[in-house]
Amino acid sequence: MGYTLIEKIIKKNAGLEDIAPGQIVTVNVDRVMVHDIFIPFVADKFQEMGFKKLWDPDKVVLIYDHLVPTSAVEDVRHFQIGDAFVEKYGLTHVHRRDGICHQLMTEAGYAKPGDIVFGTDSHTTTYGCVGCFSSGIGYTEMASILGTGEMWVRVPETIKIVINGKLPANVTSKDIILRIIGDLRADGATYKALEITGSTVDEMSVASRMTISNMAVEAGAKCCLFRPDEKTCSYSEVSPEETAWLYGDDDADYERIISYKAEEFVPVCACPSQVDNIHPVSDVEGTKIDQVFIGSCTNGRLEDLAVAARILEGKKVACKCIITPASRKIYIEAIEAGYMDILAKAGCIITQPGCGLCCGRAGGILTDGEKVVATNNRNFLGRMGTSKVGIYLASPATAATSAITATISVPK
């Protein structure tokens, strides 16, 4: 009997002879990420636990993103506490204005294929795009890892998702993960690992895979892994030899195998206010909207901005259209590629990289009765303003197309 990809990663990390779902295993953590929202709580708990030093300062990454730049005076307290923690414990990997944590963790090479990484944010599942086991935890557990370098995990069952074929031109990886969430439901993968394979994902960029790993948590998944390939190795700057062991065996014990034909996907959206309330965009076409948001750790990458620029070139948006690149690196690349010029001329509002709007803190929050088409990952009640805002989650192509007429529209 073979092993699934997640089983191989945990087994190797813990130095076990054998491994099976349900087993509780203590792993050695390769890297952790703490962001600005939770650093005060992590610092508190770390002190309360009586630790005097970090287990390994090199393995700790602190990223300010939810509150950058600040939108309320209280926000500053988080940076002050964070900076004091950096000073006291000697952190060296600190990003104060570089972008969203989940973009930076793979972009800056902190999360690599085969690694085990935890972060104080549920979308930590994102790094599965490079074949890294990464998952979100709370601040008490984070404090405990900071002191010990260890963490217990329950070996998850694996659901394998196979997607073969060629996607229709107006479908992106966002439509794929939304459809999967709709099929699995919001709790369909709870405590489980997803492993995504097939010719369709082989063809995808690492950036497109990131969108899928990022949102897997919306189906409850603990992690969502892709087998590293040449594109991964180039992106993560590792050799093919180093990643050769990172694949799920054909005879592994998958809990379930779900197959999709790429040709059958259509543009979809998650309608208010559940992530698994998935409908074809054509079902809600014509719905009047007040705002469009293209950005976030789900869809704020260069290829997403390229799609938006292609659709909006020479056009004018008919509602507020907020563009938020996921990192400063992407921001600069988008300027150099001419996308920002096109988007600005189309009337878009371009913001600094960060989490503000997606977490309902700043930069475009909405009020009762307003509707938004957004490329981020959650449409929960109150997520981007009041609890009576209607959030439609969709791909950058659907979002940009909808901005032209201020009505929900199917991309061409």
Partner: protein
């Protein structure tokens, strides 16, 4: 002793338990008055220590915020009993010492505002004389919960 039940639906997410904008408040005491604000603005005023939260599937889905179980605990919620829980909420609850109990059958047999009696050590919940068996926690997690949470459990290991 029977305690009051607050009943919730499927997929109650962490934004509904405690919304993002309140995470910037300095501590849990300041946050707890906003618990379940989008569902019932007066929840925190009406709840009394010992009350039980009962929910359907996937309670606590969404973000990793540990403030979600923490505000429930700070309001004196004795336990959350649901058909199922989201992973991070579940771990966080155990780590802070809030009992989270999986019980598939209770939900359809208890009313919002009704009462239930929880026997944690026996792993049963009783409503109107009818007893429902809860799913047992894995031993490792039960150990953390018994110690009163992760910090107490770590301290115990040192002793």
């Amino acid at each position: 002793m029977a305690n009051k039940v607050w009943k919730f639906h499927n997929d109650v997410d962490t934004d509904q338990i405690i919304a993002s904008q309140y995470l910037l408040l300095p501590d849990i005491e300041a946050m707890k008055i906003y618990t379940f604000e989008s569902l019932d603005p007066d929840f925190a005023k009406k709840v009394t220590p010992g009350d039980i939260v009962v929910a359907s599937e996937n309670f606590g889905c969404g973000s990793s915020r540990e403030q979600a179980p923490s505000v429930l605990k700070a309001l004196g919620i004795q336990a959350v009993i649901a058909k199922s829980f989201a992973r991070i909420f579940y771990r966080n609850s155990i780590n802070i010492g809030l009992p989270v109990i999986v019980c598939k059958d209770l939900y359809d047999h208890v009313e919002d505002g009704g009462t239930a009696e929880l026997d944690l050590s026996a792993g049963t919940v009783t409503v109107d004389g009818r007893s429902f068996t809860c799913t047992k926690l894995p031993e490792y997690m039960q150990g953390i919960l018994n110690a009163g949470g992760l910090i107490a459990s770590l301290n115990k290991e040192e002793d």
